[in-house]
Subunit: 359 residues, 4 copies
Amino acid sequence: MDFRHSPRARELLALLTGFLDREVAPREEAYHRELLARQDPWVVLPVIEELKAKARAAGLWNLFLPDRDHGGAGLTNVEYAPLAEAMGRSLIASEVCNCAAPDSGNMELLLHPGTEEQRRQWLAPLLAGEIRSAFCMTEPDVASSDATNMEATAVLDGDEIVLNGREWWSTGIGHPNCRVLIFMGLTDPAADRYHQHSMVLVPLDARGVSIERMLTTMGFNDAPGGHGEVAFEDVRLPAAQALLGGAGQAFGLAQARLGPGRVHHCMRLIGLAELALELACRRATTRVAFGKPLANLGGNRERIADARIAIDQARLLVLHAAWTTARALRLADGPDEVHRGVVARLELARYGAGRWGGG
Amino acid sequence: MDFRHSPRARELLALLTGFLDREVAPREEAYHRELLARQDPWVVLPVIEELKAKARAAGLWNLFLPDRDHGGAGLTNVEYAPLAEAMGRSLIASEVCNCAAPDSGNMELLLHPGTEEQRRQWLAPLLAGEIRSAFCMTEPDVASSDATNMEATAVLDGDEIVLNGREWWSTGIGHPNCRVLIFMGLTDPAADRYHQHSMVLVPLDARGVSIERMLTTMGFNDAPGGHGEVAFEDVRLPAAQALLGGAGQAFGLAQARLGPGRVHHCMRLIGLAELALELACRRATTRVAFGKPLANLGGNRERIADARIAIDQARLLVLHAAWTTARALRLADGPDEVHRGVVARLELARYGAGRWGGG
Amino acid sequence: MDFRHSPRARELLALLTGFLDREVAPREEAYHRELLARQDPWVVLPVIEELKAKARAAGLWNLFLPDRDHGGAGLTNVEYAPLAEAMGRSLIASEVCNCAAPDSGNMELLLHPGTEEQRRQWLAPLLAGEIRSAFCMTEPDVASSDATNMEATAVLDGDEIVLNGREWWSTGIGHPNCRVLIFMGLTDPAADRYHQHSMVLVPLDARGVSIERMLTTMGFNDAPGGHGEVAFEDVRLPAAQALLGGAGQAFGLAQARLGPGRVHHCMRLIGLAELALELACRRATTRVAFGKPLANLGGNRERIADARIAIDQARLLVLHAAWTTARALRLADGPDEVHRGVVARLELARYGAGRWGGG
Amino acid sequence: MDFRHSPRARELLALLTGFLDREVAPREEAYHRELLARQDPWVVLPVIEELKAKARAAGLWNLFLPDRDHGGAGLTNVEYAPLAEAMGRSLIASEVCNCAAPDSGNMELLLHPGTEEQRRQWLAPLLAGEIRSAFCMTEPDVASSDATNMEATAVLDGDEIVLNGREWWSTGIGHPNCRVLIFMGLTDPAADRYHQHSMVLVPLDARGVSIERMLTTMGFNDAPGGHGEVAFEDVRLPAAQALLGGAGQAFGLAQARLGPGRVHHCMRLIGLAELALELACRRATTRVAFGKPLANLGGNRERIADARIAIDQARLLVLHAAWTTARALRLADGPDEVHRGVVARLELARYGAGRWGGG
């Protein structure tokens, strides 16, 4: 048992944290202040492109991508994890290092099973940080945590594929550089349940695609990427160019994509949690009430200890999940309750409970 | 990062779980039933000695002890951890493999800093599983989680040391084979706070030592070891033979002893938690109410998932603590609240809060 | 809205608390110490009979019974509630005032629908505190929180009724004065689900009744009443004398009995919680660690505040339930999860969800 | 004990809920949609004035005010409570019925101890719903939950009073009709701690008052009232007209004002919680996933039951607090932790712990 990261991961982590401390952190507050003050926040401020150029020059680019031949850092998921955590402390670092969701997962899909043509058209500019992308698989009218509910369709018609449906929480679709999205829809209801859906590459300017509104979460618009509600009305595309990995392959692709993506996501959130705890501690040691720093009032020290323990446990659990292969990661995305249902099913299956449904 | 246990640990774990499944588990229920049915439960039932002999013959003996020269298994703390977890699934396995608390910690103290004479007299029979031992540092009249509260005394008088005080929750003192205890007391109030107390080896039959009653926890007496309240009245011992590591050395010794001991303890409890979850799952899949197995009622699957996650997180945290050196383990024993206070102090110290007290 | 108790309730409460402070509290610790010290704890110590006589003389007797004609105090359930709370602070007060479960509920059943003969034989000595009783409706082999699971039988055979089955958690059955129990069993599986079961009065010395063992809860035997596991083997009784309220009437009787009983039980527990909080506060203000009383360490004051709020809220909720008639009380007894299921069903029914099962 | 509301409260409640169902609820969604769509949300939409006129005509006006001579409904706090709950289900009802905070508390202060002149100038238009008001007592630079921290000053200079300081979370100050605010500041640091501060009536257009920015809570601006950060720079006012209740009287006035206000606030939030639970139940019975309505998945029914119990308990606790006089309400406003500290202090004081500080 050895909890140390690999030499390559440690080396990149040192490089990355140095860059974040030196280049990103000092400019982040001004960035957010400027964005908040703008009438139109759906813009790329110059500082972002400037930092992207610096990150790329420093070799801190596409760190998430295991494939060195295509410009990735060649890291395993467990090696990338501490880098994702470090970037998670900043709200712009992932974009600056071209490691932001949903681009990272989309790039992996374009690499495998993307065709040469698809890679040329979409992967190359994504790897270069010239364009951004979105992913559309959540529908307003049904509980999308149950994939069998999906109502959006991707129907083959001769050598074309025709998309219809409505999606929301399409993250990143408001970004001015967003040019392409991946759409999931029902292609063949008669196929077995794991081969009914397809993934389709859709240029954002395709006829029939319209962003109807940008949503807010807890009152925030998360500009400039945001989360959109998108209508697809008879969007007609050449199937050979648009289909990702063939008709009916979406389920397998989604599992492969969501597994590593979830580790990235968790690690970024752990970085954010570390930042939150640091801010809380700084506040607790400097703010005074009733003659004492807040840290010495009531149960505040216990809260700090609980937060430290929770963060450390979460990090270890995610690293362990990243280290054990596909099984633990073979969870469909969705709400906590669904994830806990899967954990319970795996646990009960050890005692012969495999036959029962989801409770 | 590598979460695998070492080859040596895995080999011993396989040997141990085989032994526990084959020899211990099938006899455990009968053992507890017989003990509960007895008027006098402060006995060693023959099955224990029989299993001890088998464990020793199988090389599953003194696994906790790092020192191979003295018959230990030569494992690091992180290698021993999975063995402690496996033994924790049984209420007798630790004793059967001569790895039970408080003997294990006491044996480490006798090895270092015990003298040749102390080792000959007490360590040898403990290592052989012929006698058992106790540790006395919790006093009824003061909050012992604050070591400065300690009222028991261990005063030098010529070449003798004289003990006075009252201790309780002295675990294992009711065992018929208990022959020796380690006593902690105040020797020199004028010394600095880390050199005021001493540890003293006390034969259980020393004049002035009396077990006044055995205590229960949640109604259980935990026989045959139990937890005793013990009075020390002018217990007079030759200092050279009785003092462990010299007068005033108790604080440092306690820290060294409690660190690894806490890892052992946590891992045993994780084993017990695994057993509890297994029993809950077996019950949940076989017991039926309202036409369904309990697992499919209400929030029970979420409870199972939460338990699985909590256990996995606790195990990872303990393994990580066992793997990082002394720092994280340098916690005084005591209630959760005190431990959380220490975690908070370490956390806040990163932001310059070192000057403040315990809140 | 008026939160004051009625003048009659306040008058009795003052009388009762005076009696408890003066007569019961000073003798309670000695009582428990003596009981714990006995080899055989299944006894009525003389102090109990002495205190019963005093309580009866003081008019603090059968306070739970609404019916004044039969020696009850004539209180509504909401008036009795504060008296139950006051008695709950002591572990013997309910017995001393002849208000202990399960006698209180059994007496109500004997009053209605008991026959003249049943009242004469069993109600009279129960009201006089000369005998005690038990109630048997929980079976080891099935989840008894689902009444349709019940496997015990009460079969009519000519003018006799024949009982078979196994019950456990039969509270009070170990009491030396226990003479009678009420048994619930399946009489007519062909009847509608609310008329399948019967309640039967069973003398404890009836042929075929055997107490197989006394159980412990969290290690405690709760002597001298305790909780027993009881076998019923071809227990044959004259149906006219033994049946309570006619064959197939058990469901309705259980509902009527459990409603007020649950209020009594909750209020007693609230009294116990008040005592626990008082002991915690006394400890927190006198015990010192790290130079401060425990009350001033960490989050302890918040814990005290949370406990105070939780107790006050629980009391108000129970009083409100006692004040609103049967509906809220029409809950089958059983585990928390079942109760919460009923609350959720009532809540969802407001939005047309009545058709769905228990989830 | 009687949990029924008074006939007068029930009559007004029926009138109010009928009005809310008929007039307010059908127009609320459109109102919020329109406000969200506006570039400038700091406006009074016509529907508000229209509904205010209808509420006033229906006698649903100034319900919070106990004083009938000044146009109040003549209700006690406990009678007003269910009306506040009913209004809390809507985000506009309190304003529509001229019962919104902070106006309600400010009107009570203007009534007592306001002078004839102060009533004429500010109370009359507030009672008529022609203007609105704000209350400023929270400072950005110090923890205002500890009143002794207050840094804003209200210094007498001849027959003038001069204000300096910075306040934030000044609720309602962004409302287009806001004309007056009440400012709290330090007047005499040499006085005893309960007589150091003054309350001052400040016209919003007084020279030296400037709203520096409007704040957001969880991303929401809460327009059109909002929460402002306000600078006071040498604001000079005639003391006789501006001082509320005399110099140094702020502490007593704040206690009197905050007590009833907190009951109003809690009851409105309970109304909002009821609405949230209703929406959750409607969703849970209509939304389907994995072949079942959400209500039948996992632990959702237990969550619904827990929410129902928590709401009922909170309501009973608030009603009980409203019914018992000043004592329970004599809490300084502020964070939960401070309130729990007060509850703990009261609890511990019963056991002689009065001398100790806040922990």
